[in-house]
């Protein structure tokens, strides 16, 4: 690209996640998200906190176009979520890894198949897919369980399968909803480290969590929601992204 001619979409400094005055109600008059504005930088690691019902899951759902905002603008990877049509939504989702609060694993498929499904939809060649799945399962400590079905696993193990599926595609954005909710403290730290290292490789990570001890331990940027409103946006201690 010629120097000085930088296209809008390829601007280096463009934040991968931007929300402006976004509101969302499921029931008229009750806003699950209320006038929230924020930006996340590329490679940033951010905690999203707030009490149960504060709107954390809803905010994540807005970001991968599972829910539509009633008001405001959401730009994810340069695309306006409210305007996505047809193939727009699937092609955005392929670039965003999501760890769901309820895992969303396929009960009758092996752990390996569950993780590979994210690669299947983009047509990753079998060999490459196999080695990527193996590597990511090793990272979450489940390589020995890869032939089992999810129901044969503990809650914490299922959660790690969900994390592996979100990470296997090396997404540009990782959205994790209570990814340590079922893990004991040691394992929680390991999983957070995994996501931190994804962030150092350039992935923008947003982790919704109740776990104040994690937030306090890492001192990363923390966005707190309260009744759907953005109550607090605490920058990372020591100025690290």
């Amino acid at each position: 690209m010629a120097a000085g001619k930088v296209s809008f979409f390829e601007r280096r400094d463009e934040s991968p996640v931007r929300m402006y005055h976004v509101s969302k109600s499921y029931i008229p008059g009750q806003r699950a998200i209320d006038d929230v504005s924020m930006e996340l930088a590329k490679g940033e690691f951010v905690f999203l906190t707030g009490q149960s019902g504060a709107g954390k899951t809803t905010l994540l759902e807005l970001l991968f176009a599972d829910e539509r905002p009633d008001d405001g603008q959401i730009l994810v990877l340069g695309r306006n979520i409210a305007r996505l049509r047809g193939t727009g939504i699937p092609s955005l989702r392929r670039r965003v890894g999501v760890v769901f609060q309820d895992f969303k694993l396929l009960p009758r498929r092996s752990v390996e198949d569950n993780v590979r499904i994210a690669l299947d939809v983009v047509g990753t060649p079998r060999r490459e897919a196999r080695s990527r799945v193996f590597n990511v399962l090793r990272q979450v400590g489940l390589q020995h369980r890869r032939q089992h079905e999810p129901l044969a696993l503990s809650g914490g193990e299922q959660q790690r399968v969900a994390i592996a599926r979100a990470l296997v595609t090396e997404p540009e954005i990782l959205l994790a909803d209570e990814p340590t909710g079922n893990l004991d403290p040691d394992l929680s730290l390991e999983i957070i480290e995994l996501m931190l290292s994804a962030a150092t490789r350039g992935t923008t990570v947003l982790v919704a969590t109740h776990d104040i001890s994690l937030v306090e331990k890492y001192r990363r940027r923390t966005i707190r929601l309260d009744g759907g409103r953005l109550a607090e946006d605490t920058p990372a201690a020591g100025g690290i992204g």
Partner: protein
């Protein structure tokens, strides 16, 4: 490019996984397609054989005009010359009275019948063949009108009634075949659509997850189309096999009954292309059935 193949492979595999996971309902729907195609195929087989008879009969068609007994061979020749000028006539052969007698003697039992009869009772006749284009009921009609106006002609045997009747029976069989085929196809479509719909419900959870990890609509839907098409192919092969077995087993028993419809012709089975068409019809039914069910499904 290779990604496209990987995706196609994945989709095909998941279509087969879908078939296996609901083997019972898939089998029912394949059998349904099979039964429908078997019935339609049986009609089609009857029709192709009847049309074959009609075509062969028309090819060999010749008209015999019997002359009055007082017409001698010389006069017969004169009449023949006039007949030869009629539109559509290809050739006229005179069978003289003596030759007619010879032919009659040659037939089994003919000699015995002629015993004791002194004078030749047989008339001379004209054997008339028509050009290809005129070997039709209409062509025969033109000839019959022309012969009516000629003196010396006693009786014309042209098989026109037989051809007309046969054509009517053939088209009756064809119309009922098409009607039954249409009804069965629609019923089959409904059953396939329902089977696929059940499969969609059973896998709704999986489909939702696929969509959440970024599967396109096509990616989510294609396995069901593959599933339906495979059910149809299995149904079509099924139908062809059963038809063939029925052909082999029933043919000897039905030979006499079929003689009424087919004359002396040996009934044939479908050729390769026709079998392929039967299986392709099954595939089309399966494909359309699953398409119908996907069109009615929103997500």
């Amino acid at each position: 490019m290779s990604r496209v193949f990987v995706i196609l492979f994945t989709l095909f595999r998941s279509g087969i996984v879908g078939l296996r996971s609901a083997a019972g309902t898939a089998l029912i729907s394949a059998v349904t397609i099979g039964i429908a195609l078997f019935l339609v195929g049986a009609f089609a087989l009857t029709i192709v054989n009847m049309e074959g008879v009609q075509a062969r009969f028309s090819q060999k068609l010749s008209v015999t005009a019997y002359l009055e007994t007082d017409v001698d061979d010389e006069a017969a020749l004169e009449i023949a010359e006039r007949v030869a000028t009629v539109e559509g006539v290809e050739q006229v052969t005179v069978v003289g009275r003596d030759e007619a007698l010879e032919r009659f003697r040659g037939m089994s039992g003919g000699a015995a019948l002629l015993e004791g009869i002194e004078e030749n009772p047989l008339p001379a006749s004209l054997e008339i063949t028509l050009v290809n284009l005129n070997r039709t009921p209409q062509g025969l009609g033109i000839l019959a009108t022309a012969l009516d106006g000629l003196p010396g002609i006693d009786e014309v045997a042209d098989g026109r009634e037989w051809i007309d009747g046969y054509a009517r029976v053939t088209s009756l069989v064809r119309v009922s075949g098409v009607a039954i085929g249409t009804i069965l196809s629609l019923a089959t479509l409904l059953i396939v659509a329902n089977t696929i719909r059940l499969g969609i419900y059973a896998r709704e959870n999986e489909l939702e997850i696929l969509a959440l990890v970024g599967a396109s609509r096509t990616f989510v839907r294609t396995p069901f189309l593959i599933e339906g098409t495979l059910q149809g192919v299995v149904g079509g092969i099924w139908a062809a096999l059963i038809l063939w077995l029925a052909y082999l087993l029933l043919m000897p028993q039905l030979e006499y009954g079929l003689m009424f419809l087919l004359g002396n012709a040996v009934p044939r089975f479908f050729n390769g292309g026709e079998i392929f068409f039967l299986v392709a019809a099954g595939a089309a039914l399966g494909f359309l059935g699953s398409l119908a069910s996907l069109l009615g499904w929103r997500r």
